[in-house]
Amino acid sequence: MSFLEITSLSARVGPVPILRDVSLNVAAGEVRALVGESGAGKSMIGKAILGTLPGAIHITGGEIRLDGQDLLALRPAERRRVIGQTAALIPQDPLTALNPVRRIGPQITRRLVDILGWSKRDAEARALELLAEVHIPDPKRVMQSYPHELSGGMRQRVLIASAFAAEPKLIIADEPTTALDVTVQKQILRLIKEMQQRHNTALLFVTHDLGVVAKICQKLTVLFGGMVLEEASVEAFFAAPQHAYSRALLAATPKYTDPDQSLTPVPQSILDDLQAQLDFAERTTT
């Protein structure tokens, strides 16, 4: 049985569909990429799992099972507790994801104490251990620091440490390297992979960067317009993508080996085809 099972999940803003009948599984310890262009709904899936969808978006159908429990059927307080205990988020922008008026230490330890009932001493020992695991020099000093005293890369390391603090079974990484500069991106990717393997956590990696997918993921799901287009293992996908849109997406990825080559956009005919498909789905479901 998969650790995360999403079945026929649909969501809307007013009449506009955001997710259409999305089904998705992540097995324990598996790294799955969620790929798609802006607006494809990839971040929305992460938010739906974690219960942080913006107020205007309503889930209209489907199931989200985390460790066998149907999240959408739980009462809100119970749902928050389950999510806090079993899942964690590595956010996109480390510059805005830490509370500027609080020291780093409490930002990692507080919820271990508040939500999971650890002793303060245990939580602090755990935080120090994790900060060392994410290769932060002088963890003691960093615990005492405020976010503005750390660089972007350091802050992302802190957030990764914090995500792993409660030994979650599932981590959702929402474009965790997009806001960082290229040299730091590589280190952070390697670090996420390293931490994922050490803790054997399932990882749902939301990204638009196929290069990143090739580096750290095993499986991938391609989304377009809130709909799953293709599911494959990473090897199979890069060898022979099944869907025309996937092929075009792969062709559009810039090659670092050939920087002079001009970028190939996804052909309009494929986009038109997909739009027609979405419109058809809309007519048959409503």
């Binding site: 974690l50 988020l89 500027p100 919820r111």
Partner: protein
């Protein structure tokens, strides 16, 4: 800060001498001769030129001598310091009421954003803001002084009470001396003027804090705290509030100085024996030294409030503390 005070001293000194009205004329009995006028002028130093008078006054102030009140013939300093505690207590009580009401409204509005509750809070704020403090004062007198008389409507304390106090900070000292009977009487006198002063400020705090809370609630660290399993109330008070307070604080400082200015009229309205009430008397009597003393003291309070706001801001914002 000293430069500000000096500027205020210059302006007040010359302005009150330019406006019409002659303090000597107020003191003269009918039928006084030229000779009497000249003698009185010399007694209060009005026979010298304006710059000379100014230098004499400033030199005195620097030595702690603010001159003698013309209408009461007592030293200005002791008069003014005697009234100052009453005004400070009133202003601080108004500030506390404003912060409590304002924060409760802001937090409730944020908790129930997008619902009718928030709409109702916005409407209330708008009303509270568009009515000035002295009208609130009149309304309160009508409500709680006349229609349903639960509070005292005039004075600072019931004259029948025997006050065992060493200072003029009655409210503060009554708590220290555990005289809660007197404390209750004081609060009953202060409550309405303080509330009248507090209502517009409370509305400003509610509006600003709610706005800044709503902006903060969309930030990533708030979302992250939600995924940690914290409920809405904890997220608002612990993650969003400490950040949302900062922009509110600076404006509250400015608004609080307006509130201190507002005490002048409110104290008059409630016959509250504070500095503001004394200021109006001083103006009516053309008591120039007293007016100067009061204005300097108000200016000093304004600058002190600004200083306190700056210090508090630095205390609450780690980016400034280490920067």
């Amino acid at each position: 800060m000293l430069i500000t005070l000096f500027g205020v001293a210059v302006i007040v000194f010359f302005v009150i001498r330019v406006v019409p009205g002659n303090p000597i004329a107020m003191m003269l009995p009918p039928g006084a001769g030229e000779e009497d006028i000249a003698r009185l002028k010399a007694l209060y130093g009005f026979d010298k030129s304006l710059p000379e008078q100014f230098v004499i006054w400033v030199a005195g102030v620097l030595q702690g001598d603010f001159g003698t009140s013309i209408s009461t013939r007592q030293p200005v300093l002791s008069l003014v310091l005697g009234r100052l505690p009453a005004t400070i207590e009133l202003a601080v009580m108004a500030l506390v009421i404003a912060i409590v009401i304002g924060s409760v409204l802001a937090l409730t509005g944020t908790r129930h954003r997008g619902t009718r509750t928030e709409g109702a809070i916005d409407v209330t704020n708008g009303m509270a803001l568009s009515v000035p403090d002295f009208l609130w004062g009149l309304l309160l007198i009508l409500l709680f002084g006349v229609l349903w008389p639960v509070f005292h409507i005039s004075g600072r304390v019931s004259p029948a009470l025997d006050l065992p106090f060493a200072t003029n900070f009655y409210l503060f000292e009554s708590v220290l001396r555990l005289r809660f009977d007197i404390w209750l009487d004081l609060v009953s006198h202060m409550f309405m003027p303080a509330l009248a002063l507090a209502i517009p400020l409370a509305a400003i705090i509610a509006q600003l804090l709610k706005q800044s809370l709503k902006e903060t609630m969309h930030l990533d660290y708030v979302t992250l705290a939600r995924t940690h399993g914290y409920g809405e109330n904890r997220v608002i008070t612990r993650e969003a509030l400490p950040n949302a307070i900062l922009p509110t604080l600076t404006l509250v400082g400015v608004q609080f100085t307006f509130l201190i200015g507002g005490t002048v009229i409110i104290e008059r309205l409630f016959s509250y024996e504070g500095l503001g009430n004394m200021a109006i008397d001083a103006v009516i009597n053309r008591d120039l030294p007293l007016i100067q003393g009061i204005v300097i003291l108000f200016a000093l309070m304004f600058t002190l409030v600004n200083l306190i706001v700056d210090l508090t801001y630095a205390l609450l914002n780690p980016r400034l503390r280490h920067g």
